[in-house]
Protein backbone atom coordinates (compact mmCIF):
# COMPACT_ATOMS: atom_id res chain seq x y z
CA UNK A 1 0.00 0.00 0.00
CA UNK A 2 2.70 2.45 1.05
CA UNK A 3 4.84 1.31 -1.85
CA UNK A 4 1.96 1.77 -4.28
CA UNK A 5 1.52 5.30 -2.97
CA UNK A 6 5.18 5.99 -3.36
CA UNK A 7 5.17 4.75 -6.93
CA UNK A 8 2.25 6.99 -7.87
CA UNK A 9 3.99 9.98 -6.24
CA UNK A 10 7.11 9.29 -8.26
CA UNK A 11 4.95 8.95 -11.34
CA UNK A 12 3.34 12.33 -10.67
CA UNK A 13 6.74 13.92 -10.47
CA UNK A 14 8.06 12.10 -13.55
CA UNK A 15 8.28 15.18 -15.69
CA UNK A 16 10.10 17.05 -12.94
CA UNK A 17 12.56 14.16 -12.69
CA UNK A 18 13.08 14.13 -16.45
CA UNK A 19 13.40 17.91 -16.57
CA UNK A 20 16.03 17.83 -13.83
CA UNK A 21 17.97 15.12 -15.60
CA UNK A 22 17.82 16.99 -18.87
CA UNK A 23 18.75 20.21 -17.16
CA UNK A 24 21.80 18.69 -15.55
CA UNK A 25 22.89 17.13 -18.79
CA UNK A 26 22.33 20.32 -20.74
CA UNK A 27 23.98 22.60 -18.24
CA UNK A 28 27.10 20.45 -18.45
CA UNK A 29 27.33 20.94 -22.19
CA UNK A 30 25.68 24.30 -22.70
CA UNK A 31 27.81 27.18 -23.93
CA UNK A 32 30.31 24.79 -25.49
CA UNK A 33 30.40 24.68 -29.27
CA UNK A 34 30.45 20.93 -29.62
CA UNK A 35 27.91 20.37 -26.85
CA UNK A 36 27.08 16.77 -26.14
CA UNK A 37 29.85 15.53 -28.43
CA UNK A 38 32.21 16.13 -25.51
CA UNK A 39 30.32 13.46 -23.58
CA UNK A 40 31.46 11.04 -26.29
CA UNK A 41 34.97 12.35 -26.92
CA UNK A 42 36.43 11.99 -23.44
CA UNK A 43 35.53 8.30 -22.92
CA UNK A 44 36.59 7.61 -26.50
CA UNK A 45 39.97 9.13 -25.74
CA UNK A 46 40.26 6.98 -22.63
CA UNK A 47 39.57 3.77 -24.54
CA UNK A 48 41.98 4.67 -27.33
CA UNK A 49 44.76 5.59 -24.91
CA UNK A 50 44.45 2.37 -22.93
CA UNK A 51 44.29 0.26 -26.06
CA UNK A 52 47.24 1.91 -27.74
CA UNK A 53 49.44 1.97 -24.65
CA UNK A 54 48.71 -1.47 -23.31
CA UNK A 55 48.14 -3.54 -26.40
CA UNK A 56 50.51 -1.82 -28.83
CA UNK A 57 53.25 -0.18 -26.82
CA UNK A 58 53.54 -2.20 -23.62
CA UNK A 59 52.26 -5.41 -25.21
CA UNK A 60 50.59 -6.26 -21.92
CA UNK A 61 48.68 -9.51 -21.92
CA UNK A 62 46.44 -11.15 -19.39
CA UNK A 63 47.99 -14.30 -17.88
CA UNK A 64 45.44 -16.75 -19.30
CA UNK A 65 44.50 -14.91 -22.49
CA UNK A 66 46.47 -14.51 -25.72
CA UNK A 67 44.28 -11.91 -27.36
CA UNK A 68 45.98 -8.64 -28.16
CA UNK A 69 43.02 -6.60 -26.91
CA UNK A 70 42.24 -8.69 -23.81
CA UNK A 71 44.00 -6.39 -21.37
CA UNK A 72 42.51 -3.17 -22.71
CA UNK A 73 39.04 -4.76 -22.68
CA UNK A 74 39.74 -5.88 -19.11
CA UNK A 75 40.84 -2.39 -18.12
CA UNK A 76 38.00 -0.55 -19.84
CA UNK A 77 35.26 -2.85 -18.51
CA UNK A 78 36.54 -2.32 -14.98
CA UNK A 79 37.17 1.40 -15.17
CA UNK A 80 33.87 2.24 -16.86
CA UNK A 81 31.82 0.39 -14.26
CA UNK A 82 33.95 1.75 -11.43
CA UNK A 83 33.24 5.21 -12.83
CA UNK A 84 29.50 4.58 -12.54
CA UNK A 85 30.00 3.48 -8.93
CA UNK A 86 32.03 6.53 -7.92
CA UNK A 87 29.70 8.92 -9.71
CA UNK A 88 26.69 7.67 -7.76
CA UNK A 89 28.60 7.59 -4.47
CA UNK A 90 30.08 11.06 -4.75
CA UNK A 91 26.82 12.59 -5.95
CA UNK A 92 24.65 11.01 -3.27
CA UNK A 93 27.16 11.86 -0.56
CA UNK A 94 26.41 15.54 -1.10
CA UNK A 95 22.77 15.02 -2.11
CA UNK A 96 21.26 16.79 0.89
CA UNK A 97 23.90 19.50 1.02
CA UNK A 98 23.56 20.29 -2.70
CA UNK A 99 19.79 20.50 -2.49
CA UNK A 100 19.69 22.27 0.88
CA UNK A 101 17.82 25.22 -0.58
CA UNK A 102 14.83 23.35 -1.91
CA UNK A 103 14.82 20.83 0.95
CA UNK A 104 14.46 23.64 3.46
CA UNK A 105 11.82 25.56 1.64
CA UNK A 106 9.64 23.21 -0.34
CA UNK A 107 7.81 20.09 0.54
CA UNK A 108 8.09 17.48 -2.18
CA UNK A 109 8.75 13.73 -2.15
CA UNK A 110 12.42 13.48 -1.26
CA UNK A 111 12.74 10.13 -2.96
CA UNK A 112 12.96 11.87 -6.34
CA UNK A 113 16.41 13.24 -5.47
CA UNK A 114 18.25 9.88 -5.46
CA UNK A 115 16.23 8.86 -8.51
CA UNK A 116 17.57 11.88 -10.40
CA UNK A 117 21.12 10.90 -9.38
CA UNK A 118 20.68 7.33 -10.59
CA UNK A 119 19.14 8.33 -13.92
CA UNK A 120 21.85 10.89 -14.52
CA UNK A 121 24.66 8.50 -13.68
CA UNK A 122 23.10 5.78 -15.85
CA UNK A 123 22.77 8.20 -18.74
CA UNK A 124 26.46 9.09 -18.59
CA UNK A 125 27.28 5.42 -18.18
CA UNK A 126 25.17 4.41 -21.18
CA UNK A 127 26.99 6.85 -23.44
CA UNK A 128 30.36 5.41 -22.42
CA UNK A 129 29.04 1.85 -22.55
CA UNK A 130 27.84 2.30 -26.12
CA UNK A 131 31.22 3.60 -27.19
CA UNK A 132 32.82 0.64 -25.44
CA UNK A 133 30.45 -1.76 -27.23
CA UNK A 134 31.25 -0.04 -30.50
CA UNK A 135 34.95 -0.53 -29.79
CA UNK A 136 34.28 -4.22 -29.06
CA UNK A 137 32.38 -4.50 -32.32
CA UNK A 138 35.20 -2.95 -34.32
CA UNK A 139 37.84 -5.17 -32.72
CA UNK A 140 35.53 -8.20 -32.96
CA UNK A 141 35.57 -8.74 -29.24
CA UNK A 142 31.80 -8.71 -28.61
CA UNK A 143 30.88 -11.34 -26.01
CA UNK A 144 27.64 -12.43 -27.74
CA UNK A 145 24.78 -13.69 -25.61
CA UNK A 146 26.56 -13.40 -22.23
CA UNK A 147 26.37 -9.64 -22.87
CA UNK A 148 22.83 -9.66 -21.50
CA UNK A 149 24.11 -10.90 -18.14
CA UNK A 150 25.39 -7.36 -17.68
CA UNK A 151 21.86 -6.21 -16.82
CA UNK A 152 21.42 -8.13 -13.52
CA UNK A 153 25.00 -7.36 -12.51
CA UNK A 154 24.35 -3.70 -13.21
CA UNK A 155 21.19 -3.76 -11.09
CA UNK A 156 23.13 -5.22 -8.15
CA UNK A 157 25.78 -2.57 -8.62
CA UNK A 158 23.21 0.24 -8.70
CA UNK A 159 21.50 -1.04 -5.54
CA UNK A 160 24.83 -1.29 -3.78
CA UNK A 161 25.97 2.17 -4.86
CA UNK A 162 22.78 4.02 -3.98
CA UNK A 163 22.41 2.17 -0.66
CA UNK A 164 25.92 3.06 0.40
CA UNK A 165 25.67 6.53 -1.12
CA UNK A 166 22.50 7.43 0.75
CA UNK A 167 23.94 6.25 4.08
CA UNK A 168 26.96 8.46 3.46
CA UNK A 169 24.66 11.28 2.33
CA UNK A 170 22.67 11.25 5.58
CA UNK A 171 25.80 10.98 7.72
CA UNK A 172 27.50 13.74 5.74
CA UNK A 173 24.80 16.20 6.81
CA UNK A 174 25.75 15.73 10.44
CA UNK A 175 29.44 14.92 10.12
CA UNK A 176 31.06 16.70 7.20
CA UNK A 177 34.18 14.60 7.78
CA UNK A 178 32.45 11.74 5.99
CA UNK A 179 32.91 13.36 2.59
CA UNK A 180 36.60 14.01 3.21
CA UNK A 181 37.19 10.58 4.66
CA UNK A 182 35.45 8.81 1.83
CA UNK A 183 37.47 10.54 -0.87
CA UNK A 184 40.50 8.86 0.69
CA UNK A 185 38.78 5.53 1.22
CA UNK A 186 37.66 5.39 -2.41
CA UNK A 187 41.29 5.56 -3.59
CA UNK A 188 42.25 2.59 -1.44
CA UNK A 189 39.08 0.84 -2.52
CA UNK A 190 39.99 1.26 -6.19
CA UNK A 191 43.31 -0.51 -5.68
CA UNK A 192 41.74 -3.13 -3.41
CA UNK A 193 39.55 -4.08 -6.37
CA UNK A 194 41.04 -6.03 -9.28
CA UNK A 195 40.51 -3.39 -11.97
CA UNK A 196 44.00 -2.60 -13.19
CA UNK A 197 45.59 -5.88 -12.14
CA UNK A 198 44.15 -9.37 -12.68
CA UNK A 199 42.91 -11.13 -9.58
CA UNK A 200 45.22 -14.06 -10.34
CA UNK A 201 48.27 -12.09 -9.17
CA UNK A 202 46.87 -12.14 -5.63
CA UNK A 203 47.76 -14.99 -3.26
CA UNK A 204 45.30 -17.86 -3.37
CA UNK A 205 44.18 -17.36 0.25
CA UNK A 206 43.24 -13.69 -0.18
CA UNK A 207 40.99 -14.13 -3.23
CA UNK A 208 37.82 -15.67 -1.69
CA UNK A 209 37.95 -13.22 1.23
CA UNK A 210 38.25 -10.28 -1.16
CA UNK A 211 35.32 -11.55 -3.20
CA UNK A 212 33.07 -11.74 -0.14
CA UNK A 213 34.23 -8.64 1.74
CA UNK A 214 34.52 -6.30 -1.23
CA UNK A 215 31.25 -6.35 -3.18
CA UNK A 216 32.82 -4.25 -5.93
CA UNK A 217 35.49 -6.94 -6.48
CA UNK A 218 32.83 -9.54 -7.16
CA UNK A 219 30.80 -7.18 -9.34
CA UNK A 220 33.75 -6.06 -11.45
CA UNK A 221 34.97 -9.64 -11.67
CA UNK A 222 31.57 -10.50 -13.15
CA UNK A 223 32.01 -7.83 -15.82
CA UNK A 224 35.47 -9.18 -16.56
CA UNK A 225 34.09 -12.67 -17.00
CA UNK A 226 31.46 -11.38 -19.40
CA UNK A 227 33.71 -9.16 -21.51
CA UNK A 228 37.11 -10.86 -21.38
CA UNK A 229 36.21 -14.54 -21.08
CA UNK A 230 32.93 -13.95 -22.96
CA UNK A 231 31.02 -16.29 -20.67
CA UNK A 232 28.34 -16.16 -17.96
CA UNK A 233 29.54 -14.71 -14.66
CA UNK A 234 29.70 -16.87 -11.57
CA UNK A 235 26.26 -16.04 -10.19
CA UNK A 236 27.01 -17.56 -6.79
CA UNK A 237 29.83 -15.09 -6.25
CA UNK A 238 27.25 -12.31 -6.74
CA UNK A 239 24.96 -13.38 -3.89
CA UNK A 240 27.13 -11.68 -1.30
CA UNK A 241 27.10 -8.31 -3.14
CA UNK A 242 23.36 -8.64 -3.65
CA UNK A 243 22.70 -9.32 0.04
CA UNK A 244 25.01 -6.50 1.11
CA UNK A 245 23.32 -4.17 -1.39
CA UNK A 246 19.83 -4.95 -0.08
CA UNK A 247 21.02 -4.60 3.51
CA UNK A 248 22.58 -1.21 2.76
CA UNK A 249 19.39 0.01 1.08
CA UNK A 250 17.33 -1.02 4.11
CA UNK A 251 19.78 0.67 6.50
CA UNK A 252 19.79 3.80 4.32
CA UNK A 253 15.98 3.89 4.34
CA UNK A 254 15.67 3.61 8.12
CA UNK A 255 18.54 5.99 8.72
CA UNK A 256 16.84 8.54 6.50
CA UNK A 257 13.39 8.04 8.09
CA UNK A 258 14.89 8.42 11.56
CA UNK A 259 16.74 11.63 10.77
CA UNK A 260 14.60 13.16 8.01
CA UNK A 261 13.35 16.14 10.01
CA UNK A 262 16.71 16.66 11.71
CA UNK A 263 18.35 16.83 8.27
CA UNK A 264 16.16 19.77 7.30
CA UNK A 265 16.92 21.49 10.63
CA UNK A 266 20.63 20.91 10.25
CA UNK A 267 21.08 22.11 6.68
Amino acid sequence: MINMNRMTIIWQYRSFILASVRREFQSKHQNSLLGAIWAILSPLAMIIIYTVIFSQIMKAKLPENDSMYAYSVYLCAGIISWGLFTEIITRSQTLFLDNANILKKLSFPRVILPIIIIINACLNFLIIAFIFLFFLLVTQQLPGWPLFSVIPVLIIQLLFSIGLGMILGVLNVFFRDIGQLFSIIIQFWFWLTPIVYPISILPEIVRPALMILNPMAAIINAYHTIFVQKSQPDWISLTSPLLIAILLCIIAYYLYIKHASEIVDEL
Binding site: Q12, Y13, S15, F16, A19, S20, R23, Q26, S27, Q30, N31, N101, I102, L103, K104, K105, L106, S107, F108, F174, F175, A260, S261, E262, V264, D265
Partner: protein, 179 residues
Amino acid sequence: MPIIQVTQLKKAYKCYPSPWARLKEWLPFNRKQYHDLKWVLNDINFTVEKGESIGIIGLNGAGKSTLLKIITGTTNATSGTAIITGKIAALLELGMGFHPNFTGRQNVFTAGQLLGMSPNEITNLMPSIEAFAEIGDYIDQDVRVYSSGMRMRLAFSIATAKRPECRSTGLHIACAGCG
Protein backbone atom coordinates in the same frame (compact mmCIF):
# COMPACT_ATOMS: atom_id res chain seq x y z
CA MET B 1 -14.36 23.02 9.70
CA PRO B 2 -11.17 25.10 9.95
CA ILE B 3 -8.68 24.86 7.12
CA ILE B 4 -5.70 24.97 9.44
CA GLN B 5 -5.85 23.69 12.96
CA VAL B 6 -2.71 24.03 15.04
CA THR B 7 -2.80 22.47 18.48
CA GLN B 8 -0.13 22.52 21.17
CA LEU B 9 2.55 22.89 18.58
CA LYS B 10 6.09 22.81 19.89
CA LYS B 11 9.37 22.92 18.08
CA ALA B 12 12.83 22.55 19.47
CA TYR B 13 16.14 22.50 17.66
CA LYS B 14 18.91 20.32 18.97
CA CYS B 15 22.02 22.15 20.07
CA TYR B 16 25.24 20.28 20.47
CA PRO B 17 28.14 21.78 22.39
CA SER B 18 30.58 20.29 19.86
CA PRO B 19 30.45 17.98 16.83
CA TRP B 20 32.02 15.29 19.00
CA ALA B 21 29.01 15.37 21.32
CA ARG B 22 26.77 14.37 18.45
CA LEU B 23 29.09 11.55 17.52
CA LYS B 24 29.02 10.29 21.10
CA GLU B 25 25.24 10.39 21.05
CA TRP B 26 25.09 8.48 17.77
CA LEU B 27 27.25 5.65 19.04
CA PRO B 28 25.29 2.46 19.56
CA PHE B 29 24.15 1.60 23.09
CA ASN B 30 24.49 5.21 24.13
CA ARG B 31 21.82 6.20 26.60
CA LYS B 32 23.04 9.62 27.61
CA GLN B 33 21.88 12.80 25.87
CA TYR B 34 24.52 15.34 25.01
CA HIS B 35 22.39 18.01 23.38
CA ASP B 36 20.34 20.88 24.71
CA LEU B 37 16.95 21.65 23.25
CA LYS B 38 16.40 25.16 22.04
CA TRP B 39 12.68 25.82 22.06
CA VAL B 40 11.58 28.17 19.31
CA LEU B 41 7.87 27.38 19.37
CA ASN B 42 6.15 26.59 22.62
CA ASP B 43 2.51 25.59 22.76
CA ILE B 44 1.09 27.34 19.72
CA ASN B 45 -2.68 27.05 19.24
CA PHE B 46 -4.80 28.64 16.53
CA THR B 47 -7.25 27.88 13.77
CA VAL B 48 -7.76 29.44 10.37
CA GLU B 49 -11.17 29.33 8.72
CA LYS B 50 -11.82 29.45 5.04
CA GLY B 51 -11.50 32.97 3.64
CA GLU B 52 -9.55 34.25 6.62
CA SER B 53 -6.23 36.04 6.34
CA ILE B 54 -3.87 35.85 9.25
CA GLY B 55 -0.65 37.72 9.85
CA ILE B 56 2.06 36.43 12.10
CA ILE B 57 4.16 39.20 13.59
CA GLY B 58 7.30 38.81 15.63
CA LEU B 59 10.91 39.81 16.09
CA ASN B 60 13.66 38.30 13.97
CA GLY B 61 14.22 34.73 15.06
CA ALA B 62 10.86 34.53 16.79
CA GLY B 63 9.95 31.40 14.88
CA LYS B 64 7.54 32.75 12.24
CA SER B 65 9.18 30.93 9.35
CA THR B 66 9.57 27.79 11.42
CA LEU B 67 5.82 27.84 12.07
CA LEU B 68 5.11 28.26 8.36
CA LYS B 69 7.54 25.48 7.52
CA ILE B 70 5.76 23.12 9.89
CA ILE B 71 2.38 24.04 8.41
CA THR B 72 3.60 23.50 4.85
CA GLY B 73 5.34 20.27 5.78
CA THR B 74 8.98 21.07 5.06
CA THR B 75 9.94 20.43 8.65
CA ASN B 76 8.36 18.45 11.46
CA ALA B 77 7.09 19.63 14.82
CA THR B 78 8.70 18.25 17.95
CA SER B 79 5.27 17.72 19.47
CA GLY B 80 1.71 18.80 18.82
CA THR B 81 -0.12 18.82 15.52
CA ALA B 82 -0.88 21.04 12.56
CA ILE B 83 -3.85 19.66 10.66
CA ILE B 84 -4.40 21.05 7.19
CA THR B 85 -7.46 20.28 5.09
CA GLY B 86 -7.11 20.87 1.40
CA LYS B 87 -4.18 21.90 -0.67
CA ILE B 88 -1.60 24.28 0.64
CA ALA B 89 0.72 26.49 -1.34
CA ALA B 90 3.88 27.63 0.34
CA LEU B 91 5.31 30.97 -0.63
CA LEU B 92 8.28 30.94 1.70
CA GLU B 93 10.64 32.17 -0.92
CA LEU B 94 10.19 33.19 -4.52
CA GLY B 95 12.12 31.74 -7.40
CA MET B 96 12.84 28.40 -5.79
CA GLY B 97 14.22 25.96 -8.29
CA PHE B 98 15.06 28.61 -10.86
CA HIS B 99 18.05 27.81 -12.98
CA PRO B 100 19.83 30.79 -14.62
CA ASN B 101 20.85 28.93 -17.78
CA PHE B 102 17.33 28.02 -18.83
CA THR B 103 14.59 30.12 -20.33
CA GLY B 104 11.79 31.62 -18.30
CA ARG B 105 9.33 29.20 -19.89
CA GLN B 106 11.46 26.17 -18.99
CA ASN B 107 11.83 27.47 -15.46
CA VAL B 108 8.09 27.93 -15.13
CA PHE B 109 7.75 24.21 -15.79
CA THR B 110 10.39 23.02 -13.32
CA ALA B 111 9.46 25.50 -10.61
CA GLY B 112 5.76 24.82 -11.08
CA GLN B 113 6.29 21.11 -10.74
CA LEU B 114 8.28 21.62 -7.56
CA LEU B 115 5.24 23.45 -6.23
CA GLY B 116 3.18 20.37 -7.01
CA MET B 117 1.54 21.30 -10.32
CA SER B 118 1.27 18.82 -13.15
CA PRO B 119 2.75 19.64 -16.58
CA ASN B 120 -0.74 19.79 -18.07
CA GLU B 121 -1.84 22.25 -15.47
CA ILE B 122 1.19 24.41 -16.14
CA THR B 123 0.56 24.34 -19.89
CA ASN B 124 -2.98 25.53 -19.20
CA LEU B 125 -1.82 28.21 -16.78
CA MET B 126 1.03 29.37 -19.01
CA PRO B 127 -0.91 32.18 -20.77
CA SER B 128 -2.06 33.65 -17.47
CA ILE B 129 1.42 33.30 -15.96
CA GLU B 130 2.89 35.08 -18.97
CA ALA B 131 0.25 37.79 -18.83
CA PHE B 132 0.68 38.38 -15.12
CA ALA B 133 4.46 38.46 -15.26
CA GLU B 134 4.37 41.16 -17.98
CA ILE B 135 7.90 40.42 -19.11
CA GLY B 136 7.02 40.08 -22.80
CA ASP B 137 9.52 38.30 -25.02
CA TYR B 138 11.87 37.75 -22.14
CA ILE B 139 9.86 34.65 -21.26
CA ASP B 140 11.82 32.77 -23.93
CA GLN B 141 15.22 34.05 -22.85
CA ASP B 142 17.55 32.66 -20.22
CA VAL B 143 16.69 33.69 -16.70
CA ARG B 144 20.31 34.79 -16.17
CA VAL B 145 19.72 37.84 -18.40
CA TYR B 146 16.65 38.89 -16.39
CA SER B 147 16.73 41.89 -14.15
CA SER B 148 16.02 41.03 -10.53
CA GLY B 149 12.62 42.66 -10.85
CA MET B 150 11.74 40.48 -13.87
CA ARG B 151 12.86 37.41 -12.03
CA MET B 152 10.65 38.35 -9.10
CA ARG B 153 7.64 39.01 -11.30
CA LEU B 154 7.97 35.65 -13.01
CA ALA B 155 8.46 33.82 -9.73
CA PHE B 156 5.46 35.56 -8.23
CA SER B 157 3.30 34.71 -11.24
CA ILE B 158 4.14 31.03 -10.88
CA ALA B 159 3.48 31.05 -7.17
CA THR B 160 0.12 32.73 -7.51
CA ALA B 161 -1.01 31.07 -10.74
CA LYS B 162 -3.14 28.54 -8.96
CA ARG B 163 -5.79 29.14 -6.34
CA PRO B 164 -5.13 26.76 -3.48
CA GLU B 165 -7.45 26.41 -0.47
CA CYS B 166 -4.77 27.86 1.66
CA ARG B 167 -1.69 29.89 1.05
CA SER B 168 1.07 30.48 3.51
CA THR B 169 3.22 33.43 2.66
CA GLY B 170 6.53 34.41 4.12
CA LEU B 171 6.72 37.97 5.36
CA HIS B 172 9.65 39.11 3.26
CA ILE B 173 7.46 38.67 0.19
CA ALA B 174 5.77 41.95 1.06
CA CYS B 175 8.90 43.95 0.38
CA ALA B 176 9.70 42.27 -2.92
CA GLY B 177 7.79 45.03 -4.69
CA CYS B 178 6.44 42.96 -7.51
CA GLY B 179 3.04 44.59 -7.95
